[in-house]
Subunit: 91 residues, 2 copies
């Protein structure tokens, strides 16, 4: 009976995750600077700059996007993508 | 026996998630533009601009950060934070 109850409980949890699409333990970053309490990135851009920034936390070139979001989206049905920042040329 | 086997399998899955910190179904965005295949944001900044961009996908002011990452980090032990972009003033 305890095993059956445990199984039922876990099935309910698994179903809820499928339905809500919620994160397992909630973490979305398991790779970037694990030693840092909060990963805040500061960027100073100049006129004419164009940068593509990662928002999936899986890029090998973080904070920049390296396209890793595509595999992540394919595998999970997610729809995340980068932030593209452009600065006008001066003059 | 089937119930016991199911219970054992689910316990193994749950433990692996705890150990690896991996996402449940892998999705990290369950809120922003669900109708879009890939959420790519394009921003054009001018001289003197300073913007704080969300990378946790939980902000109520996405693509900008509204501080929602703090609750997320508290609840999950994650360490995500925003991208802060500054553009030099011209002149
Ligand atoms: S690699 Fe993370 S958004 Fe592209
Ligand atoms: S609210 Fe998402 S990074 Fe701050």
């Amino acid at each position: 009976a305890p095993a059956v109850l445990a199984a039922a409980g876990l099935v309910v949890l698994a179903q809820r995750q499928l339905v809500t699409g919620r994160r397992a333990d909630g973490k979305i970053n398991n790779k970037v600077s694990p030693e840092v309490p909060k990963v805040v990135t500061k960027e100073d851009l100049e006129a004419g700059a164009k940068k593509v920034y990662c928002r999936c936390w899986l890029s090998g070139t973080f904070p920049l996007c390296d396209g890793a979001h595509a595999k992540h989206n394919d595998e999970t049905g997610d729809n995340v993508g980068p932030l593209i920042v452009s600065v006008k040329k001066s003059g």
